[in-house]
């Protein structure tokens, strides 16, 4: 009896997956546990192991094609078995899962045009995501009501001579997630200047002492550790607003943004409040290296409760970052620069670092964010506390 391999759920936020490539061809024997394909999720590319034994009779979703979670992507059965029988759901155009909401006229037009409404799953613009006629018309390239209202901005036009390239999977994800974040998360921003003099001395001493072990602690590691401790101190800040509920986080899992050649990835250092600086440094280094090598595993990209993004090494003195939902905030770290600052009636030169905290205003108020930021500054200005 032929059975189906289905698109697996490989991450929390995954809604659909792309078959990156098939490692088996039709007619190949497969055994449970064999890697048969690679699946691209919204965050990473993962291996897909068959849970069936038999012969790969038919590939339903080819390389580069997209399938919804749970949709069949291939059929496995006995050699020579007829798979032509009743068409598998993936290729049926009219059988819609009951959960897929579509207006009657949208269903009718889809049926008339042989359109699979599942391609619009999750993208309906009616109430509760109901697929309506406008969605179907758009897909068919038919004119959709109304002509944009007069006050609408003119459509974005690319210069005619620009080279047009399909964004990578990661770029698509960044585009979608960041648009969602800016559209749905009410951001506010708090900027503070932190005197990094003692932190730099502390780091120098630390690295000297650890030199023999080959461990090197960066300024960013100090910041991550400071954030971990400060998050523990401020539960009113360390919480996420998800579906109308506040979720308090028991442990500080901090995403550290790593720039890639053409994109960005944010691996997560877990339980920072309970880790030593040495551990934070080693883990971050390892994650960043593997991020650049494309070797990160999906779980290493999930579950952050806060993020740190540092552009100081590129000479940026100050910027504001976009929150990665459902995290409550993100700290944007600028370069540490020597600045003339008044101190006890005298002007002194101090290494000053500007940081900007972006906060989800649904989860915390300005004062919550400010108190958190004060704690971060306190740890960095009295860095002995980072190991106390």
């Amino acid at each position: 009896m032929a059975e189906e391999l289905v698109m697996p759920r490989l991450s929390d936020t995954m809604e659909r997956g792309t078959v990156a490539r098939w490692l088996k061809r039709e007619g190949d024997e497969v055994h449970a546990g064999d890697v048969v394909a690679e699946i691209e999720t919204d965050k990473a590319t993962m291996e897909y192991q068959s849970d069936l034994d038999g012969v790969l009779l038919k590939i339903l979703v080819g390389a580069g094609e997209v399938a919804e979670l749970g949709a069949p992507i291939a059929i496995v059965g006995a050699a020579g078995e007829d798979v032509a029988g009743p068409p598998p759901p993936a290729t049926a155009s009219s059988a819609l899962p009951a959960a897929l909401k579509a207006s009657p006229v949208a269903r009718r037009i889809a049926e008339e045009k042989g359109l699979d409404l599942r391609q619009l799953a999750g993208r309906g613009t009616g109430p509760d995501g109901r697929i309506v006629r406008a969605d179907v018309d758009r897909l068919l390239g038919r004119p959709v009501l109304p002509v944009p209202p007069p006050q609408a901005p003119p459509p974005v036009m690319a210069p005619a001579d620009a080279e047009v390239v399909e964004p990578s999977r990661m770029q698509q994800v960044i585009a979608r997630r960041m648009t969602e974040a800016k559209a749905t998360v009410p951001h506010f921003y708090l900027t503070a200047e932190i005197d990094m003099g003692r932190a730099m001395e502390f780091r120098g001493e630390l690295n000297e002492a650890l030199a023999a072990e080959g461990v090197k602690v960066s300024v960013n590691d100090l910041i991550v550790r400071a954030c971990g401790l400060a998050l523990r101190e401020h539960p009113q800040f360390h919480r996420s607003y998800i579906d109308g509920k506040l979720h308090y986080h028991p442990s500080a899992n901090i995403g550290v943004a790593v720039a890639l050649e053409d994109g960005l990835i944010v691996p997560v250092v877990r339980g920072v409040e309970a880790k030593t600086l040495r551990q934070v440094a080693a883990e971050t280094r390892d994650l960043a290296q593997r991020a650049r090598d494309g070797q990160l595993k999906q779980p290493e990209l999930e579950g952050a409760t806060f993020s740190v993004s540092n552009l100081g090494m590129l000479g940026v003195t100050h910027f504001a970052a976009i929150i990665n939902p459902p995290e409550p905030g993100i700290l944007a770290v600028g370069a540490t620069v020597e600045r003339a600052v008044p101190r006890d009636g005298e002007v002194v030169i101090r290494p000053i670092m500007a940081v900007t905290l972006s906060v989800d205003h649904r989860a915390s108020s300005g004062a919550d964010g400010a108190r958190f930021l004060q704690s971060v500054a306190r740890y960095l200005e009295a860095p002995i506390l980072l190991v106390a």
Partner: protein, 329 residues
């Protein structure tokens, strides 16, 4: 010509055309009617054809039924629809049922003319739109024209019809002006039971009757500035109801809104929505939307009365909500 003058001309012409036609009602003679619809007719036709009645709706509606059963064609004026409630037994239990209960051997060719509607601070008992009570009743015909031409044409048709017809006017409509045919023959007759597309459009069907048609036309103009072309259908008759014209439209637009001045519950919108959902299920992009008066006895205070009425802004908001539900606008 105003709506009021169109009614007067129809009455005058039918009095002229058929000796069996006569008018009856409270102070419609010397005083020329509370809303002056019958102005000049008593002088012209005399007290036999334009009869004054006591303040006794049950009595003179009953008298009208008797006259109609015996072959006359009475046009009974009830000062406002609110006063018809004391004559409900005559209308619902007698006028509506006699023809069928006598095996079709006797008809009741009677017209009851009466204005309804709110907006003049006449408060709870004098601001109602009760036409659905009659549209609910088999044996009656109910019409509710929104323009002078339809008022003229439908009143003449109603007078010539062999069944009892409730002819619903609206206080605000009396001063509305519009063209009516010059010819005083049968050219201007408007059939009962046929709706009229008063504004064509392909994006949204708006259904209304009586004065609410005018409100819908205003809303349709506003929507057109957003690029949405609403089709406005004037039902003109509530019973029989021309559902085909509405269905033809909704098949094209996929979206339907019904507005009425009366309460929505068990109202015209409920009836139209039920029929459209059945006939156009596979054409609909969203459920049929209804707009009606607030479900309260009409308040006296002007701001409250305005808030309770289904005015243009309320209809527009409902239309926009419906369009939003369809992912447009």
């Amino acid at each position: 010509m105003t709506y009021r003058e169109a009614l007067r001309r129809a009455l005058d012409e039918e009095l002229e055309r058929d000796d069996n036609v006569f008018l009856m009602g409270e102070e419609i003679g010397r005083f020329e009617g509370s809303y002056k619809v019958t102005a000049g007719l008593w002088k012209k036709w005399g007290g036999k054809r334009v009869r004054e009645t006591p303040i006794s709706e049950e009595g003179f509606v009953g008298a009208g039924i008797g006259a109609a059963m015996l072959g006359l064609r009475p046009v009974v004026e009830i000062m406002t629809v609110n006063f018809i409630l004391v004559a409900m037994d005559m209308v619902v239990n007698h006028a509506a049922k006699i023809s069928q209960m006598f095996g079709g051997k006797i008809n009741v060719p009677m017209v009851i003319r009466t204005p309804g509607g709110a907006g003049a601070q006449l408060t709870a008992q004098h601001s109602q739109s009760l036409e659905v009570m009659f549209a609910h009743t088999p044996g009656l015909k109910v019409v509710a024209p929104s323009s002078p031409a339809d008022a003229y044409g439908l009143l003449k048709t109603a007078i010539r019809d062999d069944d009892p017809v409730l002819f619903m006017e609206n206080l605000i409509l009396y001063n509305q002006t519009g063209p009516i045919p010059d010819d005083d023959g049968d050219e201007g007759l408007v059939p009962i039971g046929r709706a009229n597309v008063v504004r064509p459009g392909d994006d949204l069907t708006m259904v209304a009757h009586s004065y609410t048609v005018r409100r819908c036309l205003t809303v349709a103009d506003r929507l057109s500035q957003l690029g949405v072309q609403a089709e406005v259908i004037d039902l003109r008759s509530l019973r029989p109801l021309d559902v085909d014209t509405v269905v033809d439209s909704v098949r094209r637009t996929g979206r339907c809104l019904v507005a009425e001045e009366g309460w929505s519950t068990f109202g015209v919108g409920a009836e139209v929505a039920a029929r459209v959902h059945r006939a156009c299920f596979d054409d609909l992009d969203a459920p049929v939307e209804r707009v009606g008066g607030a479900e309260v006895p009409m308040p006296y205070a002007k701001p409250l009365e305005m808030a309770a009425m289904p005015l243009e802004d309320k209809i527009e908001a409902a239309a926009r909500g419906l369009l939003r539900d369809c992912g447009v606008l």
